[in-house]
């Protein structure tokens, strides 16, 4: 089922949580709402579910305005961060709950309920836990049961609020892959909220980046990572080195240094903020190279196939100010030639520049 939200606004005690958000969630896709905490992503999800009412705007489910439809009738499945399993019921009864509370006329007969619950438990690979109580399960198992419970009522949309947020890293990775596989089987239109960019990029068909109640960018994981539309998106989607300076032709002047830029948003003389990822920054020991920023090597962290080098900007060190920190990822062999305290020059593959917002 398709979901559209139109011009949704929401204010909590004077704080604007959602600011005229309009989005279109196509049928059958798995979409991630990604953003830092407090960006409004969970509120948006709850508005779509009907657990929260928007101050303005409409929620459209399958072409019909559902803004006034009660949560019960929206036919959505909702998975909570802390599972919200009913602790006094067995796993089986938890999954059966949505079927048992249906009005008598629609309610399936007992054998049918048994059959459907058993099938769902098989789907989430938990049939052997049917008689246990939630307390006896691990976090990962609980979240699978919560998902089976949400699916039992055959929802038209599946909404997941930080579904893996309360789990440890190992289980999280495993469940991510599992959720993706499950979605490929079922093709239920799904929206999941997360603040973990890796999770969003890995699992979702499309990623919606949110910041301070607004949508910053929408796109496939590839699009948003390779072509971030704003400084916020660039810095949120991974480690980044930041430079602030002024455009001079094909270069950006940062203090004494000049750096190449990619020409994307760069009028001559404009104040810009420029980004480059750690793996796009090169370290050269030849200090007479034409472009680049001088820096001191502070720490070399070598593990696995690549090494991370942390550096401090030399201009600030000389001026006695708090230095700018840089981060570079190099193949391990190259890092071996560097020593701590060595002066080097950082040369970026062309910088991604954004016009500095008047602030």
């Amino acid at each position: 089922m398709s979901i559209q939200v139109e011009e949704i606004s929401k204010t909590f005690a004077g704080v604007t949580v959602l600011d005229r958000v309009s989005l279109d969630f196509p049928t059958g896709q798995l979409v991630a709402l990604l953003g830092p905490s407090g960006c409004g992503k969970t509120t948006l999800l709850r508005v779509i579910a009907g657990l929260e009412t928007a101050d303005a705007g409409r929620v459209i489910l399958e072409g019909e305005d559902a803004s006034r439809t009660h949560v019960r009738e929206r036919q959505v499945g909702f998975v909570f961060q802390h599972y919200a399993l009913f602790r006094h019921m067995t796993v089986f009864e938890n999954v059966a709950f949505g079927l048992r509370v249906q009005p008598r006329k629609q309610r399936p007969k007992e054998p049918e309920i048994r059959r459907r619950v058993t099938r769902l438990l098989e789907l989430v690979q938990m049939q052997w836990l049917a008689d246990r109580f939630p307390q006896q399960l691990s976090g990962g198992q609980r979240q699978r049961i919560a998902l089976a419970r949400a699916l039992a009522v055959e929802p038209r949309v599946l909404l997941l609020d930080e579904p893996f947020g309360a789990l440890d890293a190992q289980v999280r990775k495993e469940l991510r892959r599992w959720l993706r596989a499950l979605h490929d089987d079922l093709h239920v239109t799904s929206i999941f909220v997360t603040h973990d960019q890796e999770e969003a990029l890995e699992v979702a068909d499309r990623v919606v980046l949110m910041n301070r109640g607004r949508v910053e960018q929408i796109g496939t994981p590839d699009e948003v990572y390779e072509r971030p539309a704003s400084p916020f998106v660039y810095s949120f989607l991974g480690a980044a080195n930041v430079f602030r300076g002024r455009v001079e032709g094909a270069n950006v002047r940062v203090g004494e240094a000049t750096l190449n830029h990619d020409g994307s948003d760069a009028d001559h003389g404009a104040d810009v903020v420029a980004f480059v990822r750690p793996h796009e920054l090169d370290i050269v020991t030849d200090l007479s190279a034409p472009n680049g920023v001088d820096a001191l090597v502070r720490r070399i962290l070598a593990f696995g196939g690549s090494a991370r080098v942390e550096l401090d900007g030399i201009e600030e060190v000389k001026a006695g100010a708090e230095p700018t920190h840089y981060e570079v990822v190099l193949p391990r062999e190259r890092a071996g030639t560097l020593t701590q305290g060595q002066q080097v020059r950082l040369v970026p593959t062309p910088l991604r520049v954004f016009r500095q917002e008047a602030a």
Partner: protein
């Protein structure tokens, strides 16, 4: 409230004490332990156990026959009946009001929530005598609504309705105060989950909310009942002390005592004391049940 702590944190504390005791690094010196233990036990024996023993001892001072006669005296039986009636009305009503109050405070945001939450404690902070006087001032012959009730030939003060009202007032906070922190700690997730799954408000309450709060509710009800049966001050003011009609058990004990009928007074008092013991036993059972893992509990 301390009650919630014991109800939901009992077992971890017990484990902790054991661990501290077995660990040489955290164990206290023997004399410190002995001193604290002696103090606690001495206090317990002197102020809690002795009076209880005295009650039963005095009750039987003139033999079993006299005690039995005092308890089966028609006035005493009337007092027992009235006490049971007052508790039988006040406790169920307070159970309903308590759940409603706790539900609205824990689940909804509304204007005046803070005031309501404070007002719930009023019966605890006001002296029971004043609570009784409030009802005399409102429903008594000279009271605000006195004329109306006299015209309609309804007696509230110095009659059973007054006793029930006073009992309800005094015991109101027990259920609500037990449930509010519990429901606030549990949050709304479970109920929201039930609603999203299609459950109606009533289904959500019976199938999700009530099972989640059942031990807290039972605990609050037991305490509420104990207080309802033992209440003296407020009931004394509105009762009028009419023998065989408006005397509850605590009032009857006082009358007997004032008449120097000590053995009879303590015989009736021993009934109240036994009630207290049953209450304590029930309370311990509830705590024990609530602290067991869900899987071992029989589903009520």
């Amino acid at each position: 409230m301390a009650i919630t702590a014991t109800l939901h944190g009992g077992s971890p504390i017990a484990h902790g004490a054991h661990r501290y005791e077995n660990n040489a690094a955290t164990r206290e010196q023997p004399w410190v332990r002995r001193l604290i233990l002696t103090l606690a036990l001495a206090f317990f024996v002197l102020f809690l156990l002795m009076p209880l023993v005295v009650v039963f001892h005095q009750a039987l001072a003139k033999g079993w026959g006299a005690a039995l006669a005092a308890v089966t005296d028609p006035d005493a039986l009337a007092a027992v009946r009235l006490t049971l009636l007052a508790a039988g009305i006040a406790v169920p009503l307070n159970l309903v009001f308590g759940v409603a109050a706790a539900w609205s405070i824990a689940r909804f945001e509304f204007r005046g929530k803070q005031i309501l939450s404070t007002l719930i404690d009023l019966p605890f902070s006001v002296s029971p005598v004043i609570a009784g006087l409030i009802y005399v001032l409102m429903f008594g012959a000279q009271g605000w609504f006195g004329h109306w009730f006299i015209e309609h030939d309804i007696k509230i003060v110095f009659a059973v309705p007054g006793i029930v009202l006073a009992t309800m007032f005094v015991t109101f906070p027990f259920v609500a105060r037990e449930l509010i922190p519990l429901m606030q700690a549990q949050g709304r997730d479970d109920e929201e989950a039930a609603t999203v799954l299609g459950a109606s408000g009533l289904q959500t309450f019976w199938r999700v909310t009530l099972p989640n709060i059942k031990w807290g509710l039972l605990y609050g009800t037991i305490l509420c009942n104990a207080r309802a049966m033992g209440e003296f001050g407020a009931v004394s003011v509105v009762s009028g002390h009419i023998r065989g009609q408006t005397n509850t058990m605590p009032l009857h004990v006082e009358i007997l005592y004032n008449e120097y009928n000590f053995a009879a007074a303590f015989a009736v008092a021993s009934l109240l004391a036994m009630l207290a013991l049953v209450t304590l036993a029930l309370k311990s059972w509830v705590e024990w049940q609530a602290n067991r893992p869900v899987a071992q509990q029989e589903i009520i």
